[in-house]
Assembly symmetry: C2
């Protein structure tokens, strides 16, 4: 029967979207889980899904303070519960005073509760020593929503080489390629340097941009720091280079800084926000760069992905553009109130003189130490495997190993390719089940490259 | 200083978006609230915001069962709390068993927790007596997200008369015009008949569609039932007419049914789902119409707007299209877990033999009875005012009064218009501060019409 909506009639941009983090690998994992439940015998009993930074799914425990604060705001009877400490109650009271009808069941302002936005600004100020205006901050449905609305706003709505160009790192977090497709932005890939611990160089940025200039109107560059999925923490020099590059080429900088608490060797590889670096580079840069910084309650020591809490700070944006962005956000009414509550706990955690402090520090440090241990374990394990190598995991929650294919295997694959007519890359891809990318073969090393760059 | 992002470079569709529910009137209300806090003297002490169905903001109390369920899933220590009844605990247990790592801090499947989707299907089956497949249901961030993603999918991505056309009622809920602008759909206005209690007639639908056919590719019709902001409940005959119209003209039907619990005269004006009516019309229609039905935990007796819970059921959609839609949803990871929990409470409320039942029924009925009283009060009050009239509020949470301008006032306004050069409509608009619309003057009656229809 003929349908109204078919692949020929629906939005072609949606068809172009690829989002492998939630794609076939997850589907296969769910299928295996079902088989295990049905009693199918396998050499393992459980599926641990590490395709995404889903901390609680892999056994990390929630931080008590965050949950107590959320529970009291949800069920105000708990103000009478003696097991809930006073600092959780006082914050809950402040939040409920800011909620219409003193209920988290009411809509908040479309940019989020003023009390939380003010505490986000305070958190940023204490982190960076740089002023932050709470009215430049909007709360979002995870950092994801902020990414989507920024990418949508950057989109020119035009076709061909009038499309907006957005630079993204390769390897990347697939949200960026997905939202570029969704809003028909031209994706400009810049490559992180695996041999220099996934650093990015001005030379590579210039190369990528020059190659794309005839294809689009370059408008923005996405930087993920600490790196997802590459785990590096950018050096100050590298960040200054990026800022200079963005200002000189008139690009907005989207700084994905959601892993700012996940830094495992802070003495050797400290994390600094782009805002702080920018503020220290003098007015030639500090007053010019349009910078959006993203944060989330899903990562760090919190791992509260399901709460869908996040924020975005906009720096140096044109007030008219900010007004348009804020208007667009108003049509979705407001971010989830309990995600805002979780964000409040993150930006306004227990203080040393408060009753929750000791437990909070203990739980936070236990999570961060465990993540640090896992980072080292992953690094050591991958490097102990034959034909594998991996850079150290300085931050975030991911390792991105390199697979060295022995020359004999390549030789054999080439013979199969020749005799079967099948592409060697697809054979390898099937074998390795790597996420969003296909392969290129280069000096006996398999590298992931986005499919649109495949020859 | 020149900015990268300006009104000339950003996405022009976002600039076209209008969303008056969250626009200047709310801004003015917030300003007045601030003035009151600062001690400015006014003839009132409080601002009650009725621009949107924000129930808790206007004093409605949350339903205890929903909050208990949410609190236990959030803070599992509460399983030991004797004041939380067993039925809330058993549902919380079922939800947590469906959560990765037994935590609402983990991501769910991108379409929502299977346990909740299955209970949504059961709820629909019990409501309609028609089978519902849980895999056709996705949970959403309020009904709003479902509307947005459907409108985005329907968009052809093309320009000019290759744009997708979407029929929406006038008066409407401004989310529909906003998302049409956002995704560049051509908006086809059909007018509800105020003289027939906001019913819609096939004649009017045919008129509206015929007039738009050369401008766009008509693809969908939005029906809001019970009506927002018009408060009518559609008759079965009217619903059958709409279904026939949609099938004959090959239109997808988007049924906004979020007010399905807000029906104030069920004996005289019962509410029926489009799915049920469709299923009883024989296979010529039942197997053909592509129907999307939207529901939310923000309305009804719940009013849990801040939780951002909702669902959408897709009926007769092409599997390939459904797969594309579900893939697009996967990029935003998942709906807020606690919104899913609230939805679970709505579709799986306490049963007569369960401990929460008595209190649940008492609270639910208290809210619905109060809303019914307010509906009558509003109707009577508006009709008692000079030069005002209003249809009865049969459902939803809104009244849409008619303002009759006395002939002498019109005469005077015309003189002002002549002498001042100011438009009579804008003078009246300033005076009346009506939301998203401007006015047309017709038989001494002021009618709201969308601005793009103004002469």
């Amino acid at each position: 029967m003929r349908k109204v909506l078919t692949l020929d009639t629906i939005n072609p941009n949606l068809i172009k979207v690829e989002y492998a983090v939630r794609g076939p690998i997850v589907d296969r994992a769910l299928q295996i889980e079902k088989e295990l439940k049905q009693g199918v015998s396998k050499p393992f009993k459980e599926v641990v899904k590490c395709n995404i930074g889903d901390c609680h799914a892999t056994g990390q425990k929630p931080v008590t303070f965050i949950r107590q604060l959320t529970a009291v705001t949800t069920l105000p009877n708990l103000f009478d519960d003696k097991s809930i400490p006073e600092d959780a109650k006082s914050r809950a009271m402040a939040i409920l005073s800011g909620c219409s009808g003193s209920s988290v069941g009411s809509y908040s302002h479309s940019l989020g509760l003023e009390v939380v936005r003010r505490n986000v600004a305070k958190y940023i100020y204490e982190r960076d020593g740089v002023e932050s205006n709470w009215e430049d901050i909007f709360l979002s449905n995870g950092a994801t929503e902020a990414v989507k609305v920024l990418m949508q706003m950057i989109s020119s709505g035009a076709q061909g080489n009038a499309r907006a160009g957005v630079m993204i790192p390769i390897p990347q977090y697939p949200l960026y390629s997905a939202t570029n497709s969704e809003f028909n932005n031209y994706q400009i890939n810049y490559y992180l340097d695996e041999n220099d611990n996934w650093a990015l160089s001005r030379t590579e940025l210039e190369r990528a941009l020059a190659g794309a200039k005839k294809e689009c109107m370059p408008r923005a560059i996405v930087i993920i720091n600490p790196g997802n999925p590459t785990g590096q923490v950018l050096s100050r020099q590298c960040m200054e280079d990026i800022i200079k590059f963005a200002v000189e080429h008139e690009l907005v900088l989207l700084a994905d800084e959601v892993y700012q608490h996940n830094v495992y060797q802070p003495e050797k590889f400290p994390w600094t926000s782009f805002k702080k670096v920018l503020s220290e580079m003098g007015s030639n840069y500090a007053d010019k760069l349009e910078l959006a910084s993203l944060m989330s309650c899903s990562k760090g020591y919190m791992g509260e992905c399901g709460f869908r809490g996040g924020y975005c700070e906009l720096i140096n944006f044109d007030p008219d553009v900010k007004a348009q962005l804020f208007k667009a956000l108003s049509a979705r009414l407001c971010p989830p109130l309990l995600g805002q509550v979780a964000m409040e706990a993150v930006v306004n955690p227990p203080k040393p003189n408060e009753p929750s402090y000791a437990l909070f520090v203990k739980e936070r440090d236990a999570v961060l130490n465990a993540l640090k241990e896992k980072a080292e374990l992953t690094y050591n394990s991958l490097n102990s495997l034959p034909n594998m190598s991996c850079n150290p995991v300085q931050g975030a929650m991911y390792a991105f190993p390199r697979i060295h294919i022995p020359p004999a295997a390549i030789q054999e694959a080439k013979i199969i390719e020749h005799s079967s007519g099948k592409c060697i890359f697809s054979l390898l891809q099937n074998y390795l089940s790597v996420q969003e990318s296909s392969f290129s073969l280069d000096d006996n090393v398999i590298r992931t490259v986005p499919q649109n760059q495949m020859k």
